[in-house]
C-alpha cells in the first residue's frame, strides 16, 4: 500500500515489522514473485520491470528465503549449478564452478565444502549455501528473510561477519527481521513497516530500541470490554521445563515454565514462528513434547508411554481441554462438510446413540440454537462450511469448543481473517468464559487483542519465554522489546 523507500548502495538495511506488516510481500515483488499494482522500482537510478525471478536474478537481486530452496540429496555444487549449468555436459563446468565456489568461500569466510551433500549439513551451513548461491550468481543486492530464525547465537555472529564482508565489497544487503537487537547490531539504516505502510526510515545509529519497538507495534486501541475483577482460582495447567526439539535437533521450545489458573486469560504474545504453534500443538495433544512436566488439574497429561500422538487429542478433549486451532482450515474444520457436521467435529463419539448412529435431528436442533446464539450467518446449517466467511467459520469453531464446557481452552489466533464486527463478539465470548471460571491460553500476534483480553501476558521469542507481565504493566515498548528478543533485564 503505497510504499516508498530507498537504500544506499553498499549498506546493510534492515526491514522491521510484525506479522502481516508487508515486509515479505514487498520483497516478493522485488524478487519477481508478485507484480506491483503501481509505482516503480529503480535500481541504480534506472527503472526496472521485474516480472519473474529469472529477471530479478539477472538484475543482480538475490534472495535467501526463510525456507531454503535446496535439493537435499544433491551436493552444494549441484545446487549452485542448478539453473546455470553452463552446458549439457555437467562435467565440463563442474571443475570451474567448484574452483569459483572455493574462492568465494575463502573471500567471505563461508566455510562450506562444495562437495558436501545438503542433508549432511547443519541448518546454519545450509543457509550459507543459499548465500553462496546468490553470490555465485553475481548478486549485488542480497535480501535475507528472517535469516536468524533457525540459527544459534554463534551461527548468527558468523552470519553477521559474512554480511559485513559483503558490505566491504560494495554489495547491498536488505535484512528482514523482527529481532531488534539484530537491527542495532548490524544495520546501517532501518525501515519500519506496519499494516502495509512504511512508518519510518531512520539511520540505525540515531535510534533506540524503544523508538523502534514503538514504531513496530504502534498504539493499541483504547477500547475496553467489561470483565469481572481478576480473581484466578486453582491452577489448571502447570508447565515445567517444557522442551521440544525436532528431528534435526533444532530446539523449538526451550525450557518453558508457566502456570495457568481457572478464570484467567493468559496471552502468549510474539511474532509467529517463535514456538507458539508448537506449544499449542503439545497442549492439545497433537504433538508429543521432547521432555518436561505438564500437569493438568494436578495430574500429568497423558503423554506417558506414547510413541506418537495418533489419536491423543481425543483423550485431551475428554479431560476437558478444548482447542481453537490457529490454522482453522487445515486443522479445525472440514471444508467440504456442512456447518452442522462441523459443530460435532471432534465430539462425534459423544453424540452417538447405542447403535453408533448420530441423531442428526437433535444435532441440527443444537446447531440451529448455536448459530442463533453465536450469530452465525447465513443461518443455514446445511451449507458447506467452506462457503462461510472466515469470521463465521471461526464462530462455529469457537461455539463448538465452548459447548463442550471445557475447563481449559487453548485459543490460537482467534481473529485471524475475521471481520471487525465479529472480532468484538469473539472477544466478548472469551471474556465471558473467563468470568465463568474457564482457564484460557490465548496465542495472538495482534497486540491490540492481547491488550483487550489478557490478565497476564507471556512473551515468546526464539522458542523461549522472554518475559512475563501483568495486564497493568502493559507497555507497548516493553512488549515490543521482549518480542524482539530482548530479555527482561
Amino acid at each position: 500500500m503505497d510504499v516508498s523507500f530507498s537504500i544506499a548502495k553498499g549498506s546493510i538495511h534492515g526491514l522491521v515489522g510484525e506479522n502481516g506488516a508487508g515486509k515479505s510481500t514487498l520483497m516478493s515483488i522485488l524478487y519477481g514473485y508478485y507484480r506491483a499494482d503501481g509505482g516503480e522500482i529503480l535500481l541504480d537510478g534506472q527503472a526496472q520491470h521485474i516480472r519473474t525471478s529469472q529477471e530479478a536474478i539477472r538484475l543482480g537481486i538475490g534472495m535467501v528465503h526463510q525456507h531454503f530452496m535446496l535439493v537435499e540429496n544433491m551436493t552444494v555444487l549441484d545446487n549452485v549449478m542448478l539453473g546455470s549449468e553452463g552446458g549439457f555436459r555437467l562435467a565440463q563446468h563442474r571443475a570451474a564452478v567448484e574452483k569459483q565456489l572455493r574462492e568465494i568461500c575463502a573471500r567471505y569466510r563461508l566455510d562450506v565444502d562444495p562437495l558436501a551433500t545438503i542433508h549432511d549439513l547443519s541448518v546454519g551451513a545450509q543457509q550459507r549455501v543459499e548465500i553462496l548461491k546468490q553470490i555465485y550468481r553475481s548478486a549485488n543486492i542480497l535480501i535475507l528473510d528472517e535469516p536468524t530464525a533457525v540459527l544459534t547465537a554463534q551461527e548468527t555472529q558468523s552470519l553477521f561477519e559474512i554480511l559485513r564482508l559483503f558490505k566491504e565489497q560494495g554489495k547491498t544487503i536488505i535484512l528482514i527481521t523482527h529481532k531488534l537487537q539484530e537491527i542495532l547490531d548490524i544495520t546501517d539504516t532501518v525501515t519500519v513497516m506496519r499494516g502495509g505502510r512504511v512508518i519510518g526510515a531512520v539511520p540505525t545509529a540515531g535510534t533506540t530500541k524503544e523508538e523502534l519497538a514503538n514504531m513496530m507495534v504502534g498504539r493499541p486501541v483504547e477500547n475496553y470490554l467489561p470483565r469481572a475483577p481478576y480473581n484466578p482460582g486453582a491452577p489448571v495447567l502447570t508447565v515445567q521445563n517444557l522442551e521440544l526439539s525436532d528431528d534435526q535437533g533444532v530446539r523449538l521450545l526451550r525450557d518453558l515454565n508457566f502456570t495457568l489458573r481457572a478464570g484467567e486469560i493468559v496471552a502468549v504474545a510474539g511474532v509467529s514462528g517463535n514456538g507458539q504453534s508448537e506449544l499449542m500443538e503439545i497442549l492439545s495433544g497433537m504433538r508429543l513434547p521432547t521432555s518436561g512436566k505438564l500437569d493438568y488439574l494436578g495430574k500429568p497429561l497423558p503423554f506417558e508411554g506414547k510413541s506418537d500422538a495418533d489419536g491423543l487429542p481425543l483423550a485431551f478433549r475428554e479431560l476437558g481441554i478444548a482447542h481453537v486451532p490457529e490454522d482453522r482450515l487445515r486443522d479445525g474444520v472440514i471444508k467440504a462438510f456442512s456447518v452442522m457436521h462441523n459443530t460435532i467435529f471432534g465430539y462425534q463419539d459423544k453424540l452417538k446413540n447405542r447403535w453408533g448412529l448420530l441423531d442428526f435431528k437433535a444435532i441440527a436442533k443444537r446447531c440451529a440454537e448455536l448459530m442463533k446464539t453465536f450469530d452465525v450467518r447465513p443461518n443455514n446449517h446445511d451449507l458447506r462450511i467452506g462457503l462461510l466467511s472466515g469470521g463465521n467459520q471461526q464462530k462455529v469453531v469457537i461455539a463448538r469448543e465452548v459447548l463442550a464446557q471445557p475447563k481449559l481452552m487453548l485459543v490460537g489466533q482467534p481473529t485471524r481473517g475475521v471481520d471487525i464486527g465479529t472480532i468484538e463478539s469473539i472477544h466478548r465470548q472469551l471474556l465471558a468464559l473467563r468470568d465463568q471460571g474457564v482457564a484460557i491460553l490465548l496465542v495472538s500476534v495482534e497486540l491490540e487483542e492481547v491488550r483487550a483480553l489478557a490478565d497476564r501476558i507471556l512473551v515468546m521469542c526464539g522458542g523461549g519465554i522472554t518475559g512475563e507481565l501483568k495486564i497493568e504493566e502493559f507497555d507497548t515498548t516493553r512488549i515490543g522489546l521482549l518480542m524482539g528478543g530482548m530479555h527482561k533485564s
Binding site: 500422538a309 495418533d310 487429542p313 479445525g332 472440514i334 452417538k352 448412529l357 448420530l358 467452506g386
Partner: protein, 359 residues
C-alpha cells in the same frame, strides 16, 4: 481451480454425467472406426441388457457382484485409500467360501450354509487386504503398489491351491468339485419365472442390503463421520482425535471383506464350484464403479447396473457384430476410469465460467 467452490448440483450431478458422456463419446468414435454404427450398437445393447426380461435378469446378476466390489473400492476411497486389490481379495474370498462349503455342504442345511459361506468369503477377503492396510498405516508403504502385488500373488497362490488341493482326483478341469445342492443361493426365477433360466439370485437382495448399510454407516454413524473426515483432511482428523492408523487398517479389512463377498454371487449363485480366474476382472470393474458412482450408494447401484448391462449387452453385441468383441467393454471401462477418475475436474473451469456469466 478448486472444485469445492462449485455448487453441489454441479459436482454431484452435472460433472459426473459429462465425464461419463465423454467416455461414451470416445467409445462411440472407436466403434464407428471399427466400421459399425454406434447408434445401432447402442440399440442392440439396450435391447439385450434391459428391454428383455431374461437379459435384464443377467444384467442384474452381474450387477450383484459389481455392487460388492464397487462398495469395497468405495469405502476405502472414503478414507482416501485407493484399493486396487479388490480383484485378489475377491479371488481369495472365493477360497474362503469354498473351504467352508467343502467342509459343511453335506452336513448342514441351506439356511446355515449361506451365512457360513458368506462369512468364509468375507473373512478370507479381509485377510487378503489386511497386510496392505497394515503396511500403509504403519510403514507408509503405498497401498496402490502393495494391493497390485497382492493381486498377482493371489493369482499364483490360488493357481497352486486349486491345482494341488482342490481338483478332484482324475479331473482335468482346474476347479474344485461341485458343491452339494444345498449350497446354492436360491434363484430369483423361482418367484419370478419371467426371468427365465438365469443365475439371478438372492445375492442381489443381499447386495442391496449392503448398499443400504453402507449408506447408513458412512453418512449417519459416528464411525462413518470419522471415516470421511480422514479421507478429506488428515490434519483435521488428527486434531479431532481420530486414530488414523487404526482407521486405515479397519477400512481395509472391511473393504477386503466386501470384495470377498463379491464371490458369493458368482460361486454360490452360478457355478457352484471354485474355478481358476473366476473373478474375471470384477475387481477392476469395482474401481470404475466407485469412481463413476462417486462412492454414493445410489451412484454405486446405478453404475453397477450400467456395467452389468455393458457386460450382458456386450456379450450379445459381440455375437451379432464380430467387430465389437467383449474386450471392447474393457476398453470402455478404462475410458470411464480415465474421465471419471483422473480427469474428473476437466469440465470444472467451463462450468465455473458458465455459472459466473449467468449469475
Amino acid at each position: 481451480m478448486n472444485n469445492q467452490d462449485l455448487p453441489r448440483w454441479a459436482t454431484a450431478f452435472v460433472m459426473p454425467v459429462l465425464n461419463l458422456l465423454s467416455a461414451l463419446l470416445v467409445a462411440a468414435l472407436v466403434i464407428y472406426l471399427l466400421g459399425e454404427s454406434p447408434i445401432e450398437s447402442l440399440g442392440i445393447l439396450v435391447h439385450s441388457a434391459v428391454l428383455n426380461p431374461e437379459g435384464l435378469s443377467y444384467t442384474l446378476f452381474y450387477a450383484s457382484t459389481f455392487i460388492f466390489t464397487g462398495l469395497a473400492v468405495s469405502i476405502a476411497m472414503q478414507a482416501g485409500l485407493f484399493n486396487i486389490g479388490a480383484e485378489g481379495q475377491m479371488y481369495f474370498g472365493g477360497l474362503g467360501l469354498t473351504v467352508a462349503m467343502l467342509a459343511f455342504d453335506n452336513s448342514l442345511p441351506w439356511w446355515l450354509l449361506i451365512p457360513i459361506g458368506m462369512l468364509g468369503a468375507a473373512l478370507f477377503g479381509a485377510l487378503w487386504s489386511f497386510l496392505p492396510g497394515y503396511l500403509q498405516a504403519k510403514r507408509g508403504s503405498h497401498i496402490v503398489v502393495t494391493t497390485i502385488m497382492f493381486n498377482f500373488i493371489a493369482a499364483s497362490l490360488m493357481n497352486f491351491i486349486i491345482v494341488k488341493y482342490l481338483v478332484p482326483v482324475g479331473e482335468q478341469n482346474p476347479a474344485s468339485r461341485a458343491f452339494a445342492d444345498a449350497a446354492a443361493m436360491p434363484l430369483l426365477n423361482q418367484w419370478f419365472p419371467i426371468l427365465g433360466e438365469t443365475p439371478f439370485n438372492i445375492s442381489f437382495l443381499i447386495a442391496i442390503a449392503a448398499l443400504v448399510i453402507y449408506g447408513v454407516v458412512v453418512q449417519r454413524s459416528a464411525w462413518g463421520f470419522k471415516l470421511r473426515a480422514t479421507g478429506l483432511n488428515q490434519h483435521a482428523a488428527h486434531y479431532a482425535g481420530i486414530r488414523i492408523s487404526k482407521m486405515i487398517i479397519t477400512v481395509m479389512l472391511i473393504s477386503g471383506a466386501l470384495a470377498g463377498l463379491g464371490s458369493v454371487n458368482s460361486i454360490m449363485g452360478s457355478t457352484h464350484y471354485l474355478s481358476l480366474n473366476f473373478v474375471n476382472g470384477a475387481g477392476f470393474v469395482g474401481i470404475a464403479i466407485a469412481l463413476m458412482g462417486r462412492q454414493h450408494p445410489l451412484g454405486i447401484f446405478l453404475s453397477a447396473v450400467l456395467f452389468g448391462a455393458l457386460i450382458q449387452g456386450g456379450f450379445d453385441l459381440s455375437l451379432e457384430k464380430p467387430n465389437i468383441p467383449t474386450e471392447t467393454f474393457i476398453f470402455i471401462q478404462g475410458l470411464i476410469i480415465l474421465f471419471c477418475g483422473a480427469m474428473e475436474n476437466f469440465y470444472a473451469p467451463a462450468i465455473a465460467r458458465l455459472i459466473k456469466r449467468k449469475g
